[in-house]
Each structure stands twice: as structure tokens, then as C-alpha cells.
Symmetry: C2
Subunit: 248 residues, 2 copies
Amino acid sequence: NSDHVMSETGLCLPGALWPPAPLKMPPRTTPPPPDPFYCSPFGSPYFNRCVPVPRRHTPYFGQPDYRVYELNKRLQQRTEESDNLWWDAFATEFFEDDATLTLTLCLEDGPKRYTIGRTLIPRYFRSIFEGGVTELYYNLKHPKESFHNTSITLDCDQCTMVTHHGKPMFTKVCTEGRLILEFTFDDLMRIKSWHLAVRTHRELVPRSVVGLHTQQDPGMLDQLTKNITRQGITNSTLNYLRLCVILE
Amino acid sequence: NSDHVMSETGLCLPGALWPPAPLKMPPRTTPPPPDPFYCSPFGSPYFNRCVPVPRRHTPYFGQPDYRVYELNKRLQQRTEESDNLWWDAFATEFFEDDATLTLTLCLEDGPKRYTIGRTLIPRYFRSIFEGGVTELYYNLKHPKESFHNTSITLDCDQCTMVTHHGKPMFTKVCTEGRLILEFTFDDLMRIKSWHLAVRTHRELVPRSVVGLHTQQDPGMLDQLTKNITRQGITNSTLNYLRLCVILE
């Protein structure tokens, strides 16, 4: 793989390789709007707020993990009122028009691999929240980047997808695995392919609830110890992915 | 407070106020090194790696939460071998020479307020890990910024300080409260004052451990339900802060 340069996030590349600007930048088939006050779809009157296009503030080159940070921030802004339009705008901001998303995990009946195309991506993320999740973010530990001619790959072997569930009691689910993201190497830096390989998951419950339930109602222990996800993925998301396989 | 502009993270400011460059930039008393290849103390041969000074890649103006993101990334790089030199470099990268750090929380015997000066800040963060913490990061939800002439304030009413503890069993402690950070408004954007007001905390234990222990050893429930922190703060950090009060 002599066509790319490995570097751990935040490390200096040798002077000759940094900044990466001299690398050949491929022409976009759909160039970004030239208007300096152009706003992303989130800035439409529909949302009644104006979100600047990321490239105006942040040079992402060499730091694709910043894009994941921004994706997390956008997910924070989701509310109960976020509809299809909101999720479409979300996908448009972070995913290329021909992006694919793959989730691999090992269920009770064997390993599964789900790959969906761009049009189904908005509903994939939406399905997570429809499954009772109130918060979602991706925590990357020691992500590594590799630079190619037309793309940047982020490879994080210690990715944790953190979800908060409110019912039947507050639960924090940490889905651990490897996240490999391929970004287009241009000023929008959108995701071409998303691959999350789930390795394991941990469901965490408040210590206080354990004490409360075991003292007052030993029968509640059953509920307390029963997982609410399968390998960290809710049933609503799994059902959606199965439907996608049929649809595509 | 007519001298500053409030904005939620990621929102467009009115054209007249954005970019904030026209705002008066105060001269630094200690200017940053002019060498474009200057590396932060983390880039010394001692660490055998070269970390670029943040200003080379990221224009922080208007996005102080990016600095917290970078602080989190730096904390990820801490290892068991990280010594005083490492922690000094950490503090130098993120805190002004005259910075202060304040922690307020309510203990069993009443409200406490600890304020420490710059020289004691490295050991404050170190004390967290000495208390058995293996991971530490700050998660900001809906942080708000206000721009002043010489500083930027980040005010986050929904800040969660997340710590991982390995003993006696894996525990994730979420310390929730309000984080107010005042940054110097220059290209290094270091913290002048750090104020974390702890509101509440939650200690989370793995669901699997609850089932295991209650089935095999009901006596373990005691240990399972006993908090390992006080309001999310370890005893080693509390002891350190008490010592600081005596020292200063």
C-alpha cells in the first residue's frame, strides 16, 4: 500500500507530506455552491436556523475524526420533532450520494452482514431512535487515518457506539467494535462508505437502581439483568436492516 | 451584557458579526513561537512523537468546544507511564499561565468549593487517574458560547464528565453538571478559568455483572450497590483538593 500514508490522529506528518494540499485533488462531479453564504440543508427556513457549511470554518484534511465529532453534534440536535426532512438533511451533510453503510455483528444464530445504499441511510439512523434510544454518539479511541489519492480512510479499532435508553429503566449501551469510514478527499469530506463491525456490547444500569430493586422487589432482578438490545443493536434497527435486505 | 454575542454551537452568527476577526484582538504578553514547525511540549524527543501546535490546523474562533474535544483526545493518549512532565505539558497546552480551576459539589456535610491555581492543575487531572480511573472525557451537550473582547466563554449546562473505573468491577461514572470555561481569545485558545459545578452523578454497572453476582453470591450485592465515588469525584481527587486548600 505505497499509495497512502498512515498516521495516528494528531501526529505530525513529515514536512514533505504536510500540509496535504499538494496531493492531487480530484474534480468534484457536483461542485459545492460558490455562494460564500451558502447554508447546508439544515439552514433552510424549515429549520429556522442557519448552519454554516463546515468547510467555511474547519479544514478537515488529515483529521477525519473531526467529521465524526460534527456528526455527533448534529445527532445531539435531533428532537422528537425531527422528521424525514431532518434525517435526509443529516444524511446529505455527512454521506455521499452513492454512499453505502454496512453493519456486521454476530447474533445467536450466527454472523450477520447488512449493507444498505444511500437512500436507506437516513432511516437507518432514525430507526435507532425509534427503538427507544434518546441519545447516540460514536466515541473513537486512537483512530488512524490513511491518505489515498481521492479518499481518506479512518480506521478505528476501538470505536464505541454509545446509546441511552430510557425504558424500562435508564440504560447506557456501549457497542464496541471497529469502525472504518472512507471519506471523499475534498472540502466537504463526506462519507463514501461506513462499516461498523460490532465486536461486543455492554449494557450498563445505574448502581442505585440495582440496590433499590433488589431490596424492595427481588423479582425485578429478572428485568434488571435482561438485555434490551442484541449486541447493542435494538430490535427496531435489526428489523429495519432485514427489511432493507428484502427491498434492495 | 451588551459587549458579547450569544450563539449556540454551530449556528451562523449574523453576517455583521461573522467572522469574528474584526473584533479587537489583544496583544499577547507571551507571543507564540514564530517557527512554523514549532511543536508543543508533547512533541519533545522525550515523547518520541511530534504533535503539531493546534493553531496550524484549526481555527478555533467561535468553536471553543473543539478545544474540549482536543483536550479529550490528549487525555486518551495518557498511559500508565505518563509522568509529571507529561501532565505539565498537558496543562501548558490547554491552560493559561495564570489559569484557575474551580470544582463545586455538594457532599454529605454540605456544599464545597475548591479553587486551585495554575501550578496545581496538572496534579488535579493526574489525581483523577490515581483514584483508579482508566479513562476520562468530557461530553458537552448544547454548549453555548459568548464572545467578549479578550475572551470566549463556553457555558455548558449539560456537561457530563465520564470516567471509567476498573475496580472492584467495571464502572462507568457519569458526573453531570455545568461547565463554564473561559478561553483567551487568541490563536492558542487556552483556558483562563475552568469551573465545573457538579449537580448529580450516576454510577453505572454492567447488567451482566448484576445477574452473575445476584445468582451466585447474594452477598456481592452490597458491593455492587455501594458507590465508589462521592458525587462522581474519587477520594484521591477530593483529598488532593483539600490539600490544595491548605497549601495555597
